[in-house]
Assembly symmetry: C2
Homo-oligomer: 177 residues x 2
């Protein structure tokens, strides 16, 4: 059992989502948004750090998953996004969590099966995979998608380990972390 915290940082809203991965499927635990308000930059970044810190203290996730940013829209929004990402990532590392980064294509492929899926398709599949009856807010949904991508990646690695152990005819030495 691994508890995965997915986050989708932003300068105004940082989405978060937590799923429990039992190695074969994932269960929804929680999701939501940290709203940073309209205060000074340092207060807004502190809200991201403190929000993530609080979530980690409440749910004790094993690791954090986050979407990698390859191409930001423009320099100004990239700076703002970077600041929120920096605050969120250090909140995780300071709590001792490993951080995994996945590209948008990896996340879309893991959730929908196509790296070119639309945002709405990802949101629908997140709802389906986690058996949600209500549509989560888009930032929370993106955070859950990052968490599910890590679970998918992990399950694929486990399946690969199993099959290669079988093909070697050796004993299973599977360690689920």
């Amino acid at each position: 059992m691994t508890l995965i915290l997915g986050i989708d940082p932003g300068s105004r809203i940082t989405g978060y989502g937590i799923v429990r991965d039992n190695g074969r499927r994932c269960e929804y635990i929680a999701s939501g948004c940290i709203r940073t308000g309209t205060g000074e930059l340092s207060e807004r970044l502190n809200a991201v750090f403190s929000g993530i810190h609080e979530i980690i203290s409440s749910y004790h996730p094993d690791l954090m998953s986050i979407e990698q940013v390859f191409m930001a829209r423009n320099a100004d929004s990239a700076l703002k996004l970077g600041q929120a990402r920096g605050a969120a990532i250090v909140a995780a590392t300071q709590a001792g969590l490993a951080v995994s980064e996945y590209s948008a294509t990896q996340i879309k492929s893991a959730i929908v099966g196509s790296g070119r899926a639309a945002k709405e398709q990802v949101q629908m599949m997140v709802m389906h995979l986690l058996q949600l009856t209500q549509k989560p807010q888009i930032d929370a949904s993106d955070a859950l998608a990052a968490a599910l991508c890590h679970a998918h990646h992990r399950q694929t690695l486990i399946a690969h380990d199993l099959s290669s152990a079988k093909s070697r005819g050796g004993r299973l030495r599977l360690t689920v972390r």
Copy 2:
């Protein structure tokens, strides 16, 4: 007496500088660089956070001064700079420090007297103002310049308070914070 921590964050090197402001002039206390290494993003950002945290624990500065970024070169470098800034700023706010931001023009004007001064002129004036015999590394020098700018701003405010109190013929109610 106010101890000011100036920082100049970057994705590879974060400069820092500490000056003691006695209300009329500034004394050099320390400066240096936090090198973030070549590890994973989360490790590098954690190095910035932990480095700033360590400096604050050692010197107990009263506040932090940082250069405001208006125009980053491009989206990719803006994202990297933003991440380092985010990690550095939350390290200060988590330690209870207020963060003041100054534009490059404000810093140059405070140090050299012209908002269009070259980087080398700023460095020379930082050395002169703090009576340094050795040239500090450029990131450390930029951090000291941010700290000196805050001191200049503070001294100007104090001078303004004094003169307006005199002109009102009232009692001085000067509080040096």
